[in-house]
Symmetry: D2
Subunit: 254 residues, 4 copies
């Protein structure tokens, strides 16, 4: 018995020793030397200073697309000349024909305020309908969705007919809505095929409704979207026959 016990004890000791040895081996791989804090502190390039403004006004590096006075930054989309929508009291109202910015853009942050017509008329897509076409192709829907049901992927804050908004954050018709839109343009390969799709983040009255959403292609009223290669392009606003109002429009190139 005694010797048996010793044997077992000996084997146990050997087993423990081997285990300890194995652990030692496993622990013996080199550890990276400790870094110092400054090794992950990068001073260059310096960060550009921008002066923010109060009350949603344009920060210092923004291009003001509407300053309340005139539509000199815009033109008729159909090439017929000036943008002829009416400007009054720091506001412009949808008139005949779509309008586009003179300047063309790639990636940007866009601030735009809009108000549904004061007179509530029509329903579903017929009530206070307009739209903001990013790069002239990808529509963020503008619609009076206050107590007005329509198809979910056609609501205010939707990527029209592609992605419904996360929530409906509409204000009522007499009040102003704010869109803050962060847009990353699509990129294309040399052969014209899509390399990366457009992406859009939208805050509607400060509430997130699109979170870096992948755009499926140019907005289509009928059928499925399909990317076609393009370069920089303007922002366009849609005339859908309703007197939607806009104000305080600025854009920052990213």
């Amino acid at each position: 018995m005694k010797s048996n016990l010793s044997k077992r004890a000996a084997f146990a000791a050997i087993a423990l020793g081997l285990l300890a040895y194995t652990n030692t081996q496993a622990q013996e791989t080199p550890k990276p030397p400790k870094m110092v804090p400054e090794m992950t502190e990068f001073w260059e390039p310096a960060v550009r200073v921008v002066t923010p403004a109060a009350n949603n006004a344009a920060p210092s590096d923004a291009i003001v697309l509407f300053d309340g006075k005139d539509l000199s930054q815009w033109k008729a989309k159909d090439g017929s000349g000036e943008a002829k929508w009416q400007v009054k009291n720091n506001v412009f109202t949808v008139g005949k024909g779509d309008i586009s910015t003179n300047k063309e853009f790639e990636d940007f942050q866009l601030h735009i305020e809009w108000s549904a017509p004061d007179e509530v008329k029509g329903e579903s897509q017929g009530r206070g309908n307009s739209g903001i076409f990013l790069q002239d192709r990808y529509e963020v829907q503008v619609l009076d969705n206050y107590n007005n049901r329509t198809y979910s992927n056609g609501q205010a804050g939707s990527i029209y007919k592609q992605h419904r908004p996360l929530v409906n954050a509409m204000r009522q018709p007499s009040e102003w809505n704010v869109y803050d839109i962060i847009y990353t343009a699509p990129r294309f390969k040399e052969d014209g095929s899509m390399f990366t799709p457009a992406r859009v983040t939208v805050l509607h009255n400060g509430v997130l409704v699109q979170n870096n959403t992948e755009v499926k292609g140019p907005t289509e009223y009928i059928g499925l979207p399909e990317y076609k290669a393009h370069g920089k392009a303007p922002i366009s606003l849609q005339d859908h026959g309703n007197p939607v109002q806009y104000r305080n429009v600025w854009i920052r190139e990213l």
Copy 2:
């Protein structure tokens, strides 16, 4: 000559005919039948209604993390009990020890306002330093960077020691800064390895400073970040020894 000409004409005709035939063939692949507009209109599921507020106040579906009165939504991060930072005039000020929310979060939109100490003291990282730790791990830097140079990836609006902000949109010390943060939590595989990294969008005073930026891992003061699997986790605020002030904090789960 004449016959030669005829021959050439004949060959030309044949060539043209073949070309036309080829084109015909090429054009003969079926075209998808035209869809009708309603085929891309989806009414269900309906979009949830959220009532937005004015002046950066919490929308109807937000969890208010600080309403101006008390820190009942917070606790000491070290487990020692209540959050003991001072509350006064609808503002709370960094005190002893980090604090964390009682509630834990995954993906969210966070609104938080902060003001550098009124007395401008120290420089670089020593001036008005605090921080917002998303899921207790990933820091959006809070720092008085108004006329105060520091390393670019340690500025206000940086993902600390990982990504410098796109621009420096600081207000001066006596004024309030606003962060609107959209956060997508990292996901992990069953074996604990990282599946998708955390992503952060930050607007600083309405100006984009992080655009769906990919977080490299938990914030490290020394060395390189490395993901470790985790679940829902609180928001934490850092005590860096400076009396930074906070107010109007709310969060929306995404």
Copy 3:
């Protein structure tokens, strides 16, 4: 004159001095200290060893889904019991009803070889049609596309009705085709909405035909795909009425 010259020279000197001083200032931001090579050398965790095989045979960590002998790793997809497709000469041939693996998978690398029926019959989708349903939902098309035109997004190597293959790398009917498929499963949020889409890379006979392609949702013969939350799921093979042959099927969980 002389004094004028001196003045100008003095101003020039001052200007140059200021410029030099400015440059000096600009260059005076701290530079991160130099690291040593070992700081970016990580020994742990160790990398697991896998023994590769020759001639497309299963590596040591693969689950063999068909070893040439029987379909014991498969069952009838409709729940009626055993997979009853015929096995002969190390090959199994599409029979009555779809079949599915017993085991369920999330992310994986799948190797599968297939041969169009020796007798060339039918055209377009009618010739040698079958399909590999990843997680029982997302189809990589199997079709005899050798000198057989069909719609581009329905070809062999397509994500059926969603993404055409980059090229058509078909072998002729008497020869075996090889698919090497790398699949990342979609992930879903707690509310059932899609968090990340499925992604698929496909090599067809060693030629890339899908490159981390984003799957739009479950394969639909009619209409538009739409994600619905699910967990692990089997690989299924489609009975489309054509005696397509399969062999050498193995899978590695990722």
Copy 4:
């Protein structure tokens, strides 16, 4: 009683009726009309035909970078002229100085076979070390890791000093290893900043070791990688002082 019962019955009926009506209303949102299969069948553009080869030989659309005979597709990387590494028995062996392809590439699929030196000598990074520099900057490590431990992110199949391989799929020194590499080049913005990082998928002897891995920047032996804008660039092979052998090299532009 009777009349009471009737009243209650009447109210119950009304309640049920209202409930039914409400349900009807809820269900009354329009449903998209059913599509027909052809609406998601796209015949154009047609898919280009590529003839695959057997035994890892180049498919019909590949550029053969080494056909067993000479290094005419390569040059010395340092600009000193021809690639002078030795060619013998359909194999070329690492000689003095790195070599680069004459042609420059953006996105591609690269097939390359390599063999560690027959004489096993040295350990860790000193045994059979070479490397494949994608776009001259991003290294897929080549190393004899058969029974040779080194740091995990420096192993064969690693993105050197950035990402360890998923597994170690090495063959022993007398045998040939195969890399199939799918590479997506980084894209840059006009200001030179990174827009999308490089991405790499690597199969090592048919086993996945990198799955669309995001490259952190150019390979650095010392310190942290940082992207700098560049255009098309060659494939380079590294002379690390060990006689690593290469054969059967071809590339397909994507």
